[in-house]
Amino acid sequence: MTSVGGSAQGPQTLDFGRAFTFPFKDPRWLTKTLIGGLFVLAGMVIVGNFFLFGYLAQLVRNVIARVEHPLPEWDDLGRFFVEGFKLFLVMLAYSAPILILVLLVVIPAAIVSESQSDFPAPAVAGLICLVLPLAFVVMAIMPAALVHAAANENAAAAFELAWIFRFIKQNALNYLLAIVVYVVANTLSQVGIILFCVGIVFTTFLSMVITAYAFSDGYRMATRP
């Protein structure tokens, strides 16, 4: 198992600027982004996402290995698909408690609302009180779990919860910065809609790789100082 810790020279902080500029330093960034955008579009069918997740997993490993231009080529789709499918199952497993809770609350609420005119307020309140905090916790843990699984090329690593909690706790600042990178990149990607609408698929792809870079760079600093 990979050990968690900080650098011997003191804690390293995530390079916020580099996370946003690294794709453009790659001489082939345009080609990789154009093809990536196509896979974002293909992601409207669930299967299309498997290629994207596999691609991001390879990006995570390249960042951790300090490859000069970490954006992978779109040349091994079979491998991307297989790994992406495993990561999709991990995401599904992490989301299962939320889905179960929603089903447990929403289905009885829907049955009750059949006999009443309004959707029952207690069910809505219960949904908000139970599901939202749980969803927040799951969403906060999932990136660390996915990066850990991608780094080890082992989907089962995503469920080493003790390791994942220790990693987040000991690298809280970098982890929070990576979440900020995610929020900023995701917000900026919406601008893509003004690039003839279809531009949003390319900006969404860029926001995905920027986010993956931020989380994996934080992981690299913690595990391979």
């Binding site: 069918v45 080529e73 779109w74 789709l77 003004i194 003839f196 609408c197 279809v198």
Partner: protein, 163 residues
């Protein structure tokens, strides 16, 4: 043709056909009195301004004429690739640059409020750019797939043979 480009072609055909079908079906349902809120999911992909959209059954489509043209062009590009893929050996980025130029000029000048385009022009420029882009991308994936196959053969591995 490698399995990579065949799988991506199939996936994109499904997505693009679905978008074309769903946008047309939505226009039909709205024309039959369904709630205009049916068009809301399309806002994730397109502004869907009524004056910039084609009209079906006297109802504006939920995606603009340019997006409709792009998706139509993409499906056309996939068909061209499947028919002539083996003859198209060079994926030059100059292709998409040239074919996308009308879309960029038409859309760019409209974005800068220099002029207002027409739906016919939006459709035509989208069609051209969509077809060229998908052709370029699929040829690129095909060539990358072939390189990958050659690498596997060089390593002595035997991949599933492609036609």
């Amino acid at each position: 043709m490698t399995s990579d480009s065949r799988i991506v072609s199939a996936l994109l055909s499904i997505v693009v056909s679905w978008l074309i079908f769903a946008s047309s079906a939505t226009a039909y349902l709205i024309s039959q009195g369904a709630s205009p809120k049916l068009a809301l999911p399309f806002r994730l992909l397109c502004h869907g301004l009524a004056r910039r959209s084609l009209r079906l059954w006297d109802t504006p489509m939920p995606i603009c004429a340019r997006c409709f043209g792009i998706y139509l062009g993409m499906s056309l590009g996939i068909l061209i690739f499947l028919a002539f893929g083996l003859w198209l050996r060079k994926a030059s980025p100059v292709w998409i640059a040239l074919a996308s130029a009308p879309l960029i000029i038409d859309g760019g000048t409209q974005l800068l409020a220099l002029r207002e385009s027409t739906n016919q022009l939006r459709l035509a420029t989208g069609l051209l750019a969509g077809a060229a882009f998908i052709l370029w991308a699929l040829i690129h994936i095909e060539l990358n797939g072939r390189q990958n196959l050659n690498r596997l053969k060089f390593k002595g591995l035997t991949p599933i043979e492609d036609s």
